[in-house]
Assembly symmetry: C2
Homo-oligomer: 336 residues x 2
DNA sequence: TGGGCTTACGTGTTACGTAACGATC
DNA sequence: GATCGTTACGTAACACGTAAGCCCA
């Protein structure tokens, strides 16, 4: 017995016992329904309908009973479908995101402003941590989304969507010798002690160190902090020059500091959003992704979600090689 | 959504969330269940089970709801299946059979003796009539079964099962000149007036007349009756010689008559059982067929029932040509 | 003769089994 | 390293659409 057969059965019963009309209503062929009805009757070893020749002219006693039960079945089936749709479209609950201080402080507020207006019932739980901690929370399914930067390896069960790019900015006090230079090189930076983000554990390779090493230089990192504002404080106090995400530096607010973009001497960083492959995206989650990474079309998102084995490999490779990133938008500056 | 998927779902839920065990219980492959579960979850856009890596370790909130609904669905489905099975296995009700006097009187009593013991609750409604009347009742679905003999054409919507064969017997009073003969020929019979069954209307050709005509003789049929006992009475009263079904003549009970089998000079007759193609056989009907025509195996019966177009043609042809009849058993003599 | 159901047939889809792979304890 | 789930792939079954056939009003 197939659900489709029950759908056909009810359609016939609801259309004056006309197979032709039932077929029209269901946008399918009349012989198809005819055949499935006969298969159903044959499986049940019962004539559900009374026939006059080939024409259906009535419902048998058993047929009534069967039709009633079939209605119940379809009703339950629809309910099952609705359960998940409603859940997927729910606008309340808890939406948890693990992210880094920089993203939480400088990239997310603008996004959440819109998002919260759309979903006022939704409690947003923003968890801060290192990339390691974020990854761990994601793997334990303690959070729905993770947002971070860096080349950390996430594993096969996690979907990783590149969202935007950003450059670093070198910060130093107004009276620092670097302020006299038109153009700053890696050699210049290597001369001074550096305060920046920590290279975040064994799973991640530091693209900053890499860039220095490539030209046979060794950066003198004297202090690291996860919080861009902490880094700025240490720079102000003369510990060294700071290297932070460009969006964490605002010439207007940080008037006592000078900032030089490193876009010509250091590689760009990519901020990505990740979640467990085996989690279904509720509507608000999709909306959030759209707010946070508007360049990702529905089709692209769907490709990330339903990637089969081969395309998954391709995607992983292209992400690995940052092939996608060339087309990624730069982060738009925005301050509260 | 497929019913099969719901069955798999429940099996997983009922087997400690083990896909492997569910597969064993259902005698199917483990990858098959795994895949269908993922298809179901994907269609519903919901994770029914909570996973630890690939292992299922729990049921999600929505999953509980879905599983409960799925149980209801399968329960209703089983009920639908039971409805018809119960009906098919019902042992009470009305079982109507239209037949001829000869069958009712001489062939059926033995069968009904057993059958009635098995189905004491079943009211058997035996209707007597001419072949024409029997056919008409069958076509109007006034009776479940028809049992008769003769070459009557039944039409495409009726299933006709050959049951057994019988010969005719020539009857005459003890002092009749035929009693002096060792062997009786058609020529001998043609010399005397004959009392026999009527040739039953335009739809049927009389095999008796045919046999005479083939050797350029014309039988002198002076009297016809549907009832073998009536025929015997007329024979006793000198209206002529009788030709009746062999099973209607009992040397012990009809001591005043002599009977000669015509098996060498007249063709055998076949008694068949017929019913509408669009009627499903209840269990007691199948049992009746088995009692009445024990040589028909379940497989053969099923072939008669589910014959497709080609085999239907073949069957019709083989019945038409009496190809089957060579293997049909002769009627076993039996008197009350 | 037209409307309605069935039969016939080709085709694209899919369920499922086997085998290989992968992860997890 | 054993157990359990997933991926891959071939095959057989099946649903469904088109077209033709059949029957009844």
């Amino acid at each position: 017995m197939k659900l489709q057969q029950l759908i056909y059965l009810i359609a016939i019963a609801d259309n004056n016992l006309s197979i032709t009309k039932a077929a029209e209503k269901l946008f399918t062929s009349q012989p198809g329904i005819s055949k499935q009805l006969r298969l159903l009757e044959s499986e049940l070893e019962t004539k559900i309908f009374i026939r006059n020749g080939k024409q259906l002219v009535g419902v048998s006693e058993l047929g009534e009973e069967i039709i009633n039960r079939a209605r119940k079945v379809l009703h339950e089936i629809n309910h099952i479908k609705n359960i998940s749709n409603l859940a997927n479209e729910s606008e309340s609950g808890n939406f948890s995101i693990a992210t880094t201080q920089t993203q939480a402080q400088y990239a997310l507020p603008k996004v959440f402003a819109n998002f919260h207006k759309r979903y006022p019932q939704l409690t947003i739980d923003l968890q801060q941590g290192t990339s390691e901690q974020i990854l761990s929370q994601l793997q334990k399914q303690e959070v729905d989304f993770a947002i971070a930067s860096g080349n950390i390896e996430l594993g096969a069960n996690i979907v990783k969507i590149p969202c935007f790019q950003w450059d670093r900015t070198v910060l130093f006090p107004q009276d620092h010798p670097l302020g006299d230079l038109r153009k700053i090189t890696l050699e210049d930076l290597a001369k001074y002690p550096i305060v920046t983000y920590p290279s975040m554990g064994p799973a991640e390779k530091s693209s900053l160190k890499d860039a220095f090493n490539k030209v046979k230089l060794e950066p003198n990192i004297v202090f690291t902090a996860r919080d861009a504002d902490v880094i700025k404080t240490y720079v102000r106090n003369g510990f060294g020059i700071g290297i932070v995400a460009s969006m964490a530096f605002s010439p207007k607010q940080d008037r006592d500091l000078l900032g030089y973009s490193t876009k010509d001497i250091l590689p760009r960083c990519t901020t990505w959003l990740a979640f467990n492959k085996n989690m279904f995206l509720k509507k608000y989650m999709k909306d959030f992704i759209n707010d946070f990474a508007p360049h990702i079309s529905k089709e692209q998102l769907s490709r990330y979600l339903h990637q089969d084995y081969t395309s998954s490999l391709q995607l992983a490779n292209s992400i690995e090689k940052n092939e996608d990133d060339a087309s990624l938008p730069m982060h738009q500056m925005w301050h509260i």
